[in-house]
Structure formats: structure tokens, C-alpha cells
């Protein structure tokens, strides 16, 4: 059963006087629990696709349904609420808040949901255990390595147990060994919680470890290697 249904999605950006099509009619079904990589050269539209799936941007044509909800019809606030409740994000440059501790950074999505402080603490500790950073819960991100910071970002994405985690080039700022360990971690989370992961990537290692690889070129799907185990 598909968690995401993408139908005829188009997106065009304006650059000066010219229209630049980023996506030119994409159809895609993503099943629950998939570990999917979207790859392609620069300008192929993979980040645009992720932004649309993440309700961060509005589409110009077509439709996207996530868990049966048509996100194209949502206004700005509804999209924010949807992101708050359903989606997790991992960014290339971690985007942690430097004045908050590791625990407080991980807690942000739960604070946004207005959860009880005790439950927030328990959930954060649980996910930090899973990413191997429970002993660093009270540290500030600035005192962690790049790999550890990305683990914190993964923990933050997973802490509210979202249906879908979107990761924009999550290994791009990491060396290959660290990037590999982050992938192992996400794969383990995918297996343990059945969370759907969608990555955009240039990284061959990520493509090789994905259960499904979608290749984009000039805003169109040129290859979809299907579900691999």
C-alpha cells in the first residue's frame, strides 16, 4: 500500500525573465516502509521533489497524496501542521540549534506537539539510546563531531515516530565512514519502526544501500529500479 502517491507533479521556478521547469510531470508511488533514494545530476529536480513531498513548497500542477491526504489543497498553516504531526526531516548541514543541548534539540518536534515534559524526556532518551548518544544528552551540539551531530538530527527526525522521514543529502557533509554509519543507523530505524525514508543524494553509497532508487533527469523520472531488499 502506498504512503505517497505522486501524480503528474509539475513545478516551475522563475529565474529573471525565464521560466525554469524543475519537475515536468512526475508520477511516483512510494510504499510504506520503503528506503528510497532519489538521485540525479544537479538541476534534475530531486531537491524540488523532496521539498514538495515535505510540504515545504507548493506545486504548480498535479497532485501529491501522503497517507491519503491531498497536500496541494492545504494552506500554509495546514501544511505546517501536517509537517508537525507527520513528517521528519534530516538536513545536509544538520541545522541544530547551538544554544540548546542535544536533548533539547531532539525535543523540538515533541515540544511543537505540546507533549507532556515527562513523556518528552522519556521519548528523547529512548531515541538517543537508539542513535548511541544517550551519554551526550546534556552537551551542546558544538562539542560534537559532524557524524554525532547528524545522529542528533536523525534522532530529532525520528523522535515523534513520523510516517515519513525526508533527508536531503544526509551524508554530503560527512566522510564516507561516518556517512556509512549514519546510513546504517537510518536503515536500522527503518527496519525497527517501519518508517518510510526518502533521500535525495549524489552519493553512490546511499544509492547502493537504498531499497529503491529513482533517477531523475531534467525534471522527469528516467529510471525506477523498483523495490530491492
Amino acid at each position: 500500500m502506498s504512503i505517497i502517491e505522486v501524480r503528474g507533479v509539475r513545478k516551475t521556478y522563475r529565474s529573471g525573465e525565464a521560466d525554469v521547469p524543475a519537475l515536468r510531470g512526475i508520477d511516483l508511488d512510494i510504499g510504506r516502509g520503503q528506503f528510497l533514494a532519489v538521485a540525479g545530476p544537479s538541476g534534475s529536480g530531486k531537491t524540488t521533489l523532496l521539498n514538495l513531498l515535505g510540504c515545504l513548497d507548493s506545486l504548480d500542477g498535479g497532485s501529491i497524496r501522503i497517507e491519503g491526504v491531498d497536500i496541494a489543497s492545504m494552506d500554509k498553516t495546514a501544511r505546517a501542521r501536517f509537517r508537525r504531526e507527520k513528517l521528519g526531516f534530516v538536513f545536509q548541514s544538520y541545522n541544530l540549534v547551538p544554544v540548546l543541548t542535544v536533548m533539547e534539540n531532539v525535543a523540538i518536534p515533541l515540544e511543537l506537539l505540546g507533549m507532556d515534559p515527562k513523556e518528552i524526556h522519556a521519548r528523547c532518551m529512548e531515541v538517543l539510546e537508539e542513535v548511541g548518544l544517550a551519554d551526550k544528552a546534556k552537551r551542546r551540539p558544538g562539542r560534537l563531531s559532524g557524524g554525532q551531530q547528524q545522529r542528533v538530527a536523525v534522532a530529532r527526525a525520528l523522535v515523534k515516530r513520523p510516517s515519513l522521514v525526508l533527508a536531503d543529502e544526509p551524508t554530503a557533509n560527512l566522510d564516507s565512514a561516518t556517512g556509512s554509519s549514519i546510513l546504517d543507523l537510518m536503515k536500522a530505524m527503518n527496519a525497527k519502526h517501519g518508517t518510510t525514508f526518502v533521500f535525495s543524494t549524489h552519493d553512490r553509497m546511499v544509492m547502493d544501500r537504498a531499497s529503491r532508487l529513482v533517477l531523475l533527469h531534467d525534471g522527469l523520472v528516467v529510471s525506477d529500479e523498483g523495490v530491492r531488499t
Binding site: D57, A80, N95, L112
Partner: protein
């Protein structure tokens, strides 16, 4: 999202650039403490002036003939309370301390030995009943040399500055020329019996005092006076007290008005109010400091944190929540500035209240006709102090509205791509 979480988040953000936060708060603190100190001096001036006016010149309330006030500048003796006795009895029965006075314009003429120079000067003559007057005014306590009118009812007591200007000493003879009640000129040959040095510069410079009996004899007052001054409760509303008393007096005599010190001292109050315009200018300056300083700090903050704010919005934080958090951050800078300003002003204000500045030399030189003592002191004004803290926070909050709105203009995608 929990407002406490947003507030906590805002406070944590203040620690990112401590120096910037401290500099912005300090500039606000400097402006606010200046405002507090200026207001303290103004309040001190008002309190001191009001006290000096009531204790040495006007009393709290004054009973007058209803036609007197319109002609007050000429201090007419024919607009008088013809028979003050029943009025004084009524006031006494109501528990008021009252003092009858005849106030009139006089010309002090000095010539010959022992004066070093001859000449004349126009003064405000106050004829008073030395016994009753002491219950309302504190003139006797300020006697610097000589005798008060109770001990020498045939003499004249001069204000300190007036005596200095004339070169007067105790025992010097002088002549007072004034109009009688029916308008004829009359002269009184008197000797200087005392010199009073009150905390009221106007009284010291312009007034001379004689006994009411003496004035009655020379000016044919026939027992009439043109003022009955009353000592009142200084905390009571003077207008209400005056209106109530005026109503009560109707049972005793017709055609009388009761004026509160806010009316008899209107010139002084107008002077104070004109100075409070300066206080508003200072507040405007503080507002500009807040507007420039806090907006600039917030703009820098927003620029530096654009990507982070993009992340928070991507996580589902609503724009209004983020805006609130930013504005709370600005308000916190203002609050710190306000508290710092208050703390900074305390020792300076303690100095102003306890010691103040001696400006008597200036008052003597300029010849100020206002009821100031010459020592400029501050006053503790809790409302202004608390208001300054609130104003600091509120102004900072208000001026952060535009930068906070600007922060939301970028889309989430643009914000995440920033930098």
C-alpha cells in the same frame, strides 16, 4: 505550542551573542536611567515647590471674596471679606486651622542714614495675625535674624533676598507706601524687626510682612481681610476639599469663594508642567534608542539565524510562534535594559534625594519668582521606576514587530537554502 517553551527558547537565544545583548540592553539602560533621574528631579522640584508654596505663601485652601480672583494681580483690598470673624468661627468649628491675611502691593522707600543708597522697591506686603498665622504657615520658623511680628508687632519683617538687595539690617528705618482700602495713598514709617529666610525664593525676594493690626490701623481695613488661608490635609484632593468647604460657607456668608492651592499656585504648576515636556522628549529619545538598537540587534539575529528558523518552520513551527519567540527575545532585551536602568539609577537617585544640587546662587542671580528653595533635590517616584522597566520591555517588543515580520517573508525553502 507552549508559551513557556517559546519564552524559554527566547531567553536561551539571548545567550548566543552576550556582548551584543549587553550593549543593546546597556544603551537602553542608560536612556531609561537618565529618564528616571530627570523625572526624579522634576518630582522633587514639584514636591519641594508645592510644599514651599503651601507652607510659606498660599496655604492649602484660601477663602476669598468671589470677585477677588479676577483682580488678584493688583491685590485689591476692597475685594475683601468684610467680617472674617464668623468665617473663622465656622472654620474653627469644622476643625480647620485658618489665618486671616491682608495682602497688598506696597512701595518700600529707603533713604538717608543708615542706608548706603536711597531708592524704592515694589513688594508684596502681607499683613498677618501672628498668633493665627503660625497655625497655617511656617514663616516664624525661618526667622534668620531679629524678631517675629508676635514679639514686635510694630515692625516689618523682610524676606532674606529683599533685605540683601536693599542692604537692610535689623532696626533700619523704612517707609512703606500703599493704598488704603478706599484707594488713597498712605505711608507707614516702620523699622526692620526681622528677616526671614524661607525655602521659597519668591517669598524671600518679593515679600515683606507686617502685623494685621498695624495694616488695619494705617490702611483703614476696618477688620476686613482679603484672604483667609487654611491648612489642609496635604494628601486630600484640594479641588474636592475646596468645593465642599465653599458649599459649607454658604451658610455663614454669601459671595465667598474657596480656592485650592492648585488654583492659587497655578503659575508654579504651569512651570512644572512645561518642564515635564522635557521629560517627554527624553522618553522619545529612549524610544529612538530602543528602536534603533533593538531593531538592529533583531535584524542581525534574524539574518544569522535564517537557516535555523527555516529548520524550525520545516519541523512545523507556525510563523506566528516563531514571530512571538523573536518578539519575546526583543522584549527580554528591553526588560534587561529596564532593570539595568533601574538599578543604575538607584545610587544616583539616592544622591539626588539625600544631597541634591545647591542652585541657590543661580536663583539669586536670575531672580526666579517661583517657590523653590534653591537646593534641587530628587524624589523617589516608584511609579516612574516601575514604568521604566515596563516601557523598556514594551518598546523593545513593539519595535521588533517589523524585523520579526520580515523574518517570515522568506519561504521555508529559501530560508533553508540561506547562507
Amino acid at each position: 505550542m507552549n508559551i513557556r517553551y517559546l519564552a524559554g527558547f527566547a531567553f536561551r537565544n539571548l545567550t548566543r551573542h552576550k556582548r551584543r545583548t549587553v550593549i543593546t540592553a546597556a544603551s537602553l539602560a542608560a536612556g531609561l536611567s537618565l529618564f528616571i533621574l530627570f523625572d526624579s528631579l522634576l518630582t522633587g522640584l514639584e514636591n519641594d515647590g508645592t510644599r514651599s508654596m503651601i507652607w510659606y505663601d498660599t496655604g492649602s485652601l484660601q477663602v476669598q471674596d468671589s470677585g477677588y480672583w479676577e483682580e488678584k494681580d493688583s491685590l485689591p483690598l476692597d475685594r475683601a471679606i468684610a467680617d472674617p470673624g464668623p468665617v473663622l468661627d465656622f472654620l474653627g468649628s469644622k476643625g480647620f486651622k485658618a489665618a486671616p491675611r491682608a495682602v497688598f502691593m506696597g512701595e518700600l522707600i529707603v533713604s538717608g542714614d543708615p542706608w548706603t543708597e536711597s531708592g524704592s522697591v515694589r513688594v508684596r506686603m502681607v499683613a498677618l495675625d501672628p498668633g493665627r498665622d503660625a497655625a497655617v504657615f511656617r514663616l516664624r520658623e525661618t526667622l534668620q535674624e531679629g524678631k517675629w511680628l508676635s514679639d514686635d508687632p510694630s515692625g516689618i519683617v523682610l524676606g532674606y533676598q529683599l533685605a540683601r538687595d536693599l542692604g537692610a539690617r535689623i532696626g533700619y528705618p523704612l517707609t512703606v507706601m500703599a493704598r488704603t482700602r478706599d484707594g488713597a495713598f498712605q505711608t507707614m514709617d516702620l523699622r526692620v524687626s526681622g528677616i526671614v529666610n524661607t525655602p521659597n525664593a519668591a517669598v524671600n525676594r518679593l515679600s515683606a510682612f507686617v502685623s494685621l493690626d498695624l495694616a488695619d490701623e494705617y490702611l483703614y481695613l476696618e477688620g476686613s481681610v482679603n484672604q483667609i488661608a487654611i491648612a489642609g490635609d496635604e494628601d486630600a484632593d484640594p479641588e474636592k476639599a475646596a468645593a465642599k468647604l465653599e458649599e459649607g460657607l454658604k451658610t455663614v456668608a454669601g459671595g465667598l469663594s474657596v480656592l485650592p492651592w492648585t488654583v492659587t499656585g497655578a503659575e508654579f504648576l504651569a512651570f512644572v508642567q512645561s518642564r515635564s515636556g522635557l521629560s517627554r522628549v527624553l522618553l522619545l529619545l529612549v524610544f529612538i534608542i530602543a528602536a534603533v538598537g533593538v531593531s538592529n540587534t533583531m535584524l542581525m539575529t534574524i539574518l544569522e539565524r535564517t537557516r535555523e528558523m527555516g529548520m524550525l518552520r520545516a519541523q512545523g513551527m507556525y510563523d506566528r510562534e516563531l514571530r512571538t519567540s523573536l518578539m519575546m527575545e526583543a522584549a527580554a532585551i528591553g526588560l534587561i535594559g529596564g532593570i539595568l536602568g533601574l538599578v543604575l539609577s538607584l545610587p544616583f537617585n539616592a544622591f539626588l534625594v539625600n544631597t541634591g544640587f545647591d542652585l541657590s546662587w543661580m536663583i539669586e542671580k536670575v531672580g526666579v519668582d517661583l517657590p523653590f528653595s534653591g537646593r534641587l533635590r530628587g524624589a523617589w517616584h516608584a511609579r516612574t521606576m516601575l514604568m521604566s522597566v515596563a516601557v523598556g520591555a514594551f518598546l523593545s517588543f513593539a519595535v521588533s514587530v517589523i524585523p520579526a515580520r520580515r523574518a517570515m517573508k522568506l519561504s521555508v525553502v529559501e530560508a533553508l537554502r540561506h547562507g
